[in-house]
């Protein structure tokens, strides 16, 4: 136990730098995911048939392929075509696009759970459809989407570990590296697992705090 603690303290700086990369990568891909997820979700509910089919095809295609394939495609595939991205950028884009299609589905669900009367009331006052989306639908959808969106965010936070595969020095990569250098994989992975757990716990707390902060009486998903 003492030997484990000594080892853990010794590798901690490396592990924390990996954890910091994990946090940065998560912020980037989760932001991309929420932003595009919102646009795709709105597109799937409110746009013309044509856009609807494009968005639907895009969503289905990305849901139907593994995340690791998407990451390799962007890093190695595009690299072959002469578009060379830094590993962390490639990972941010690939994971961001990947999570956006799941966020899109949550946004679609949230938008569709809003009573049609809200849109009708906004239109009856003389608001254009897009202004009604902007001022009435999105403020409600953004609140309604938080619980399901939080799950995806937490999932994505952990899933950034696949960036290891293209050489991003995030937490899992650091665990692997320190494990290999010291021939102590077991302890390294345990330290990584503890750090992931702590971070995910904090993320979950942040999400539930936001959910409480923006709560409005009468605005929740139908039970």
């Amino acid at each position: 136990m003492v030997s484990f603690l000594n080892y853990a303290i010794r590798i901690l700086p490396d592990m924390l730098s990996g954890a910091w990369i994990t946090v940065q990568l998560s912020v980037v891909c989760i932001s991309i995911g929420i932003f595009f997820g919102m646009i795709l979700g709105v597109g799937r509910v409110y746009s013309s048939k044509f856009i609807y089919w494009i968005v639907t095809a895009y969503v289905e295609f990305l849901r139907g392929t593994p995340c690791l394939l998407q990451l390799f495609f962007i890093y190695y595939g595009l690299g072959d075509m002469g578009i060379l991205l830094k590993p962390i950028l490639a990972a941010g884009i690939a994971l961001g696009i990947n999570t956006s299609v799941y966020q899109a589905e949550y946004f679609r669900g949230a938008i569709q759970s809003i009573k049609p009367g809200q849109m009708v009331a906004a239109r009856s006052m003389g608001l254009s459809k897009w202004k009604a989306v902007r001022y009435v639908i999105l403020p409600q959808a953004l609140r309604l989407v938080i619980p399901s969106s939080s799950n995806e965010i937490i999932y994505m936070f952990k899933y950034t570990s696949v960036a290891f595969a293209v050489g991003v020095p995030e937490l899992l990569a650091q665990a692997d590296l320190t494990g290999a250098m010291n021939f102590r994989y077991f302890e390294s992975y345990v330290v990584a697992a503890i750090l992931y757990t702590i971070m995910v716990f904090i993320v979950a707390k942040i999400m539930s705090t936001i959910e409480k902060k923006v709560y409005i009486p009468g605005l929740q998903l139908a039970q």
């Binding site: 809200q118 906004a122 009856s124 006052m125 003389g126 001022y135 403020p139 409600q140 009468g218």
Partner: protein, 246 residues
């Protein structure tokens, strides 16, 4: 008083179902028009046709002399001039009472926050709910929500207001407060079209009444004489259902 709204030969079909057949009437500034008739007669569709929530198939709608039932009309600016009050209120769930009433001036008319707030406060005061500014719609009773939705419509400074069965979703003990707000508006000279089952209101407040049956106006005129001596057999039959309810 000048004519504010003139409707000529309005028709509307849903698939093969003719909901409105050749509806014509006119309304002068400051008048309150009650539209009565049984459920499914086309009353609500008529209101929704007027502001194109449900676009009519043919006919003319002249708002201050300008036909708005033409494709090139900017329907959004027309809608802002015709307030609409829904049966189930449809207040914006995510906005508090003040923000709900500010919404029209701020987001539709493009006024500043300060101007919008001044207008909203006055309208909320007018419907007697100045103490509820920070409440959310879900925290109010149905009657209070409907009064706020009237204030929301008024804050747009519309030329007329369309009321679509404004008391039908309310418990009987809450209809009174809404009807008295509407009666006060009528007294203040607001032009309104009210689709209603409240015969007492139609009779005592409205300047004019229309009886619609199966998409046709069967009778129109001064409410008192229509209620005491209906000319049409169907009007007579319809009104007889309400005898003793007042």
């Amino acid at each position: 008083m000048p004519t504010i709204l003139e409707v000529k030969h309005l028709t509307k079909k849903f698939d093969d179902n003719e909901v409105l057949k050749d509806v014509s009437f006119e309304l002068k500034k400051g008048e309150t028009l009650a539209v009565i008739g049984s459920s499914g007669s086309g009353k609500s569709t008529l209101l929704r046709c007027l502001n194109h929530l449900s676009p009519p198939d043919s006919g003319q709608i002249l708002l201050e002399g300008v036909n708005i039932n033409v494709p090139e009309i900017d329907i959004n600016s027309i809608r802002a001039d015709m307030g609409f009050v829904f049966q189930d209120f449809n207040l914006f769930t995510h906005l508090n009472i003040l923000e709900n009433v500010m919404f029209g001036p701020l987001r539709v008319r493009g006024m500043s926050r300060k101007e919008s707030r001044t207008i909203a406060l006055a309208e909320i005061e007018r419907v007697g709910l100045g103490d509820k500014l920070n409440f959310y719609p879900a925290q109010l009773s149905g009657g209070q929500q409907q009064r706020i939705s009237i204030a929301r419509a008024l804050a747009l400074r519309p030329k007329l207001i369309l009321f679509d069965e404004p008391t039908s979703a309310l418990d009987p003990e809450l209809t009174g407060e809404v009807l008295s707000v509407m009666a006060a508006l009528a007294n203040d000279g607001m032009t309104a079209i009210v689709v209603t089952h409240e015969m007492g209101f139609a009779r005592s407040v409205a300047d004019k009444a229309i009886f619609i049956d199966k998409g046709l106006i069967l009778e129109q005129g001064e409410p008192n004489s229509m209620f005491t001596a209906p000319k049409n057999e169907r009007t007579k039959l319809f009104l007889s259902n309400f005898v003793g309810m007042e």
